[in-house]
Structures are given as C-alpha cells and as structure tokens.
Amino acid sequence: MLGEGAAGWSRALLVLGVIGLAASAVLAPLGAESFFRGYLVNLAFFSSLALGALFFVILQHLTRAGWSVVVRRMAENVTGAFGALGVLALPIVLAVLLGAPAALHHVYHWTDAEHVAHDAVLRGKSAYLNGPFFALRMLLYFGLWIALAGFYARLSREQDRTGDAELTTRMQARSAPSIILYALSLTFFSFDLLMSLEAHWYSTIFGVYYFSGSALGFFALLAGSMHLLQRAGYGRESFTQEHFHDVGKLVFAFVVFWAYIAFSQYMLMWYGNLPEETGWYLTRQRGPWLVVSFLLLFGHFVVPFLLLISRYPKRHPRALVWLCAWVLVAHWIDMFYLVMPHNLPAEAGTEAQAAPLLLTDVLQCLTALVGIGGVFGWAVLNRMRSAALVPLRDPRLPESLAFHNI
C-alpha cells in the first residue's frame, strides 16, 4: 500500500487533470475539430493502457501463471481507471448522441445526416454507425470493462484478507469467457472510436492492431512503474531482476507483434491496391503525416527492437525504464497517427489534399494529454493507496517470489 506521501501526488494529479481538461475546453472555440481529435488521441491512448492491464490480469488467470503474481496487483490497479475513463468518454459520446456540433461532422462523417443522405456507403452503414447505437455500445464496453476489472480486483483484495485459495479458482474459471468478451469488446471499441473516423475505410485486423499497441503500452507502463516504485522504496524485495526480465521480454515481444500486425495490414492493402483500401494509407503518406508514418516505423519498431534484443536492458531496470518511456511515447504517436491525419474536403474532380497539422491540433493534444492523463493517474494512484501493492496471500506468491529465469 502506498504511504501518505502518495495522497499528495494523487491530489496533484487530479488538479493537473482538471486544469488540462479546462484548458482543452477553453481552447475549443479556437478549433473545435482540433479539440475532438486531440481529445480522441488521448482517450484512445489512456484507454489502451487500461485495456492492456485488463488483458494482463485475465491472461495470468487463464494461464494460471506463477511468475507474475507479484506484478499482477499493479495491473489490477491500472484497470481501476476504467470508471474515470468512462466518464472521460462522455464528451465524445454525448456530442455524437445529442445532435453533434458541426465540427464533429468533419471528425465522424457518419454523424452528419445530410452528408450520409448523399453518401451511399455511409447510408449502407447507418444501421450500425448512428448516434444512439454508438452511445449504447460505448455504454456496454465501459460497463463490461468496469465489471470485469471490478471482479478481478475485488476477489484479489478479498484474498488479501481471507487467504482463501478458492478465490483463485473462481477467478480462473471466469477467465476464459472473460477473455472472449474482452477480445470482442476491444475490437468493436477500436472500430467505433478510431476506425469510424474514416468510415469508408475498413480493416478487419484493426482491432488486433489496437490490441497490440494496448498490451505493449501497458507492459511499458508496468516496467516503468515497477522501477519508480522501487526508487520510492516500495517492492524492493518483491520485484526482482527476474520480474523485470520477464516484463522486458513481453515489451520486446509486443514490439515485434505490433510491427507484425501493422505490416500485415499494410502489405495486403498495398498489394491489393484497391482505392477503397489504400485511401487511408494515402492520407498518411501526404504532407506532414508521412513524417509521422516514418516516425512510427523507426520509433515504434526498428529502434526498440534492436535495443531490446539484448538481455542486458531487460535485466537492468535503469536501462529498461528509458526504453519503456520511449515505447510509451511511440505508442502515443501511434494513437496520434490513427486519429489526426485526414484530408481536406475535396472539390469535385480534384485530388484530395492532406490537412496540415495546425497549432490548435498540437495544443489540444497536449492539454488533453495532461487532462486525461492527470485523471487517469489520479484514479490509478487512488487504487494503489487502498490495498497492498502485491497480492499478499495469493497461493502462488511464493512461486512468484522465488521465480528464476536462469
């Protein structure tokens, strides 16, 4: 359990978050479209971290993993942010539901009834992509995640008090259906929140793409926070070099997995060369967005891949924490890459032009980062203050403490 010092941090983060959100709202009149896009980048980013944590928790129960028990509570704490994230999703959901402002029509074209009436493709998708159903689905996603996260966190904490091994059995029994629901909800969440930004375009692998980044982002966050906690004096005995090594291996694996999925999506569309598929990539090869694409190729794959091949950084937290910071920044850029690039409305018969990156885009991204990040951090720290940082009486705790890679 975090000590009293953490209460100050937690309050500071909340204040910072509120200031960030207020700044976003104040700046919104300067560019409402920038507000929505900047907000979406960060909503997708912090949701992905919580989703990666939920995946980790369910996976550990599904595989009955022993090594990870000491770090599992950290993941349970991160999933505690789903409630706050659900509230933070409200501006988007309400804007879509209650007759969207004009700026949102440029972000989500399918919210514009007049546009949809003239667009055969969007008309065909309107049974799925419409305001009320979008809001209902968001409610279902966050409801499901809050329930799943609550179930695992509650039973795990109850075990701290009772030491009942039966609780572990119950969590394991629920893990298989949980991971199926998790996979479906994450996939459709990414379709709704991110893929529908360009509603003409579709990619069946998109959910996996978002998932790979989510898991990667969470593992980077996990390794980083383990190290920060140790520097603050917590978990020095429980998190050993071996646990850092394993989390580092997961970061490495998901760097490769992300690249594999990203390339799988790219190559099929590049090879098929069908206009309805390549348009999405064409936008990202124009103007300032080409730079972002290359930044991802090298920052999200090549550099961390080469640096993480060696065993050294995985077993040396002081090196690993910098790599994890790098990976988190790359993952944030990935979300930026999914949300920001778009074409200017084209005149009939002329080639589409990529929209430039505006100053308000950058400002809104940063204020929303501070705003949503602050609230997210506050929610997670609050969780960390209310229970032990390690599942104290998990039946596999001794196995985890004694864990050795070599």
Binding site: F263, M267, W270, Y271, N273, I309, H404, I406
Partner: protein, 431 residues
C-alpha cells in the same frame, strides 16, 4: 564388453571393481540439490576447470555455483539471423530485380528473371518483407539449434561415466553427481578424493577409460554408416537418370486415376472390325445444331460464288454494327488496328521483329473494298497467310456482324465531311 566399473558408492560385494584401465575421472555422489550446489561452489573455488555436475532436473543457481560463464550462443544467433535477413534481401533482389543484362557473365540458369507482379516495380520492398522475415527466423532457429548442439559437444553417444552403475541407475531419478576429470591440470587422484569426501560426498568412485569402445557405441557407429550408405542410393539414382537416356516411360509412382481400365479415343480395340475405340457416327447422322445447310450463312457462298450481300437471317442494323465493332475490338484490332489500317500492336511488333510474318492488310484499301461480303466472311472463317482461322471461336452471326462493321469502317475511311450530320461536324470542329 566389460560389465560396469564399480565403486565405493555401490554396496560392497555387488561386483568387483576393475582397476586395470586408465583413470578418466572421479565421480562423487551427493544426497540433495542443496548439497550439490554447495559442493559445486567448493569445486569452483578450488580452481578445477574440467569438471561437470549431473542432476535429474535443472537446478536454479547451478550455473552460478559452477562458475559457468554466459553462453555465447545469442551472438551466433544474432549474426546468423542477420545473415538470413541479408540472404532474403539479396536472393529476392537477384531473382527479380537485378538487371540480367549487367550480369551476362553469370550462367543463364543462375540468373534472375524480371517478373512483373500486379504491376508493381521489380524491386518492391513491402512484397519482399515476408521472405526476409522467414529467412531471418529460419537462419536464427537453425543457428540456435545446431549451435546449441555443437557448443555442448552433442550428439555424444557414450561417455566413460556411463560405465558407473550408480550413475546410470540414479542420475535420471534421484542422484546428484560431481565428476572431476583426470585431465584437469589440478587433478591428483588422492588429493581429489579427499577433497570430494571433505565437501560432503556420500561416496567417491573411479571412472575408468578402457580402450575398447562400449558395444552400444559400436552399433551406433555401424548403424550410422549403413544409414549413410542407404541415403546415398536416391542421389545416385538421380545422378544416373541425369546422365543416361532411356526409352521407358517415366516411373509412375502415384497413380491417382491416371491409368484406368477403359478405352480412350485414339486407342485400338479388338471388339470392332476397324479396331478403333472411338466409334464413328452412323452414316447420314447430324448432331443437333450441326446441320448448317444454309451455305450463305455458314460459308458466305451463293451458288459457286462468294455472296455479295448478307444472308437473309442476318438483319443489318445499328445494333449488328455495334456488335461487330465490339467483336472487332476483341479479335481483329490486335493486328488490324482499331481503324482497320493494320497498325495493331501485334502487327507493329511482329513487323519490327521481321521473320516470316506477313503484314496485316489495310481493310479499307481498294482491294478489300471491292471484295464481296462473303469473301470477307470466308477470310474470317478460314484465315489466310499468317492470319489464323477464327471459324471455331466466333459464331457465324458475329462473323457477319464483323463483316458489317468492316464495311462501315471502309465507308468511314473514304467518306467526305459533307456526308456527316451537321451536329457531328460541329462537335468535330471543337476538337
């Protein structure tokens, strides 16, 4: 073959120890993984270098206790993985993107071939990544597997410690052993034995190295030689097939349904007087739709002469000419060109290449304009000079449609502007 070397570890009296061989090593047994680890630390600290520990299962911390340094295998895997990556890049560049004209000195069968796929450039990196990826993985995996075997001196079928009954009976179930080799520079039998006993060995046994190989080892060698000889047979047969000629049909190992007990069209058959398997239709029979009694429609002939006009069953109107234009574009334009002047891409290319090609005719020259319709129809049906016969691939009605279109082309190529409708003239002026 001798029985096992025997020991102070065994119960006394089980078998007499054999002491005539050369000393290979001293084998000490310990009772638990903990004592094994502490013993290993002592042996390590005593400065021995040629020794090993044996246990039924992996023990965490034994590497450190034995002072084993980090394996170098990862470096080997990395270098070979990189080699695989470069091989993948090089292979695909050479096979599809290299300009063969610059590498004329390379034998033809080793040259690549510029193969256009989906209209992509010959060197299209995204398409190459899967193969690069797979070769990187393949090289890394093989390097890890073979490198691991090589660095561990495997496969090794027999070692002198296998002569110890204590070792073979317990090392895979509950025995923990340390074995110090006599070849170690710090080895002295008496001192090593005292040392091992002092660090908690239950017993210490001499392991001897006898000159004769154990029987099992010899059989493995013989088996390996025989297997190698057998494996040489298929390549030898392939080499023979390459260098010799034969009139026999190929060896047909997998039959599928290739050879069935039935007569095929061109085979002979004893049942019939003419010995043909394929029977002729009865004299005077005509298959349905094959009567073709209308010479004008099917052959373009009336009496003995080519017909001047179209058969009665073909109605000449705009839709027929449109149909003819469309068919002309498919079958005729590649050589005769869209305007019938003979500038089609096949003809142009063939004329460049020379040879026995006869130029495609200008369909609107005086000779072709004077020909009766039936003559043009006949040329389409039966072909002429280098032009193949199209009778088998264009329906009679469509052939007449093409004739109608050719007539329209001939007319158009010799028409005055005055003959055009006035609004069309206006349109053409704009161009």
């Amino acid at each position: 073959m001798q029985t096992s070397g025997v020991s102070t570890i065994e119960r006394p009296g089980v078998a007499a120890p054999r002491t005539d061989g050369k000393l290979h090593a001293l084998l000490a047994e310990f009772d638990s993984p903990q004592t094994l680890i502490s013993a290993c630390e002592r042996v390590r600290d005593a400065g021995f270098s040629r020794w090993d520990a044996h246990s039924p299962y992996p023990i965490h911390g034994i590497d450190e206790a034995m002072g084993i340094r980090m394996t170098r295998l990862p470096y080997l895997v990395f270098v070979l993985g990189l080699t695989g990556c470069l091989t993948g890049i090089g292979l695909q560049w050479w096979a599809n993107a290299a300009d063969a004209r610059q590498f004329g000195f390379v034998p033809t069968f080793l040259q690549g071939y510029n193969f256009p796929v989906s209209g992509k450039p010959f060197w299209s990196f995204p398409a190459n990544i899967p193969v690069i990826f797979e070769l990187t993985i393949l090289f890394s995996a093989l390097a890890a597997f073979i490198g691991m075997l090589a660095m561990n001196n495997l496969p090794l079928f027999s070692r002198p410690v296998f002569r110890s009954r204590a070792f073979t009976e317990r090392v895979t179930s509950h025995g923990f052993f340390v074995c110090i080799e006599a070849a170690d520079p710090k080895f002295n039998e008496a001192r090593a034995r005292t040392f091992l006993e002092s660090i908690g060995a239950l017993g210490v046994e001499r392991v001897e190295d006898h000159d004769e190989a154990p029987l099992r080892n010899a059989w493995i060698k013989r088996g390996a030689v025989i297997a190698f000889m057998v494996l040489l047979i298929p390549p030898a047969m392939i080499a023979k097939a390459w260098t010799s000629k034969s009139n026999d049909p190929r060896v047909h190992i997998i039959q599928d349904m290739d050879n069935q007990e039935k007569y095929k069209a061109q085979q002979s058959m004893p049942l019939f007087a003419d010995r043909r398997a394929a029977r002729q239709p009865l004299p005077g029979t005509v298959a349905r739709g094959d009567l073709r009694s209308d010479d004008h429609l099917y052959r373009g002939i009336v009496g003995e002469q080519f017909a001047d006009d179209f058969p009665a069953s073909v109605l000449v109107n705009e839709s027929l000419i449109r149909r003819g234009q469309q068919r002309f574009g498919v079958y005729c334009a590649p050589c005769h060109g869209l305007d019938g002047s003979g500038n089609g891409p096949v003809n142009v290319r063939a004329m460049e290449l020379g040879g026995s090609w006869v130029a495609a005719a200008d369909l609107a020259d005086d000779e072709r304009r004077s020909r009766p319709a039936g003559h043009l129809y006949n040329t389409i049906t039966n072909g002429i000079r280098t032009m193949p016969a199209y009778g088998d691939r264009i329906k009679p009605e469509d052939r007449w449609a093409i004739v109608a279109y050719v007539r329209a082309l001939q007319h158009a190529r010799h028409a005055d502007a005055d003959a055009l409708p006035p609004d069309l003239v206006e349109q053409l002026k704009d161009r």
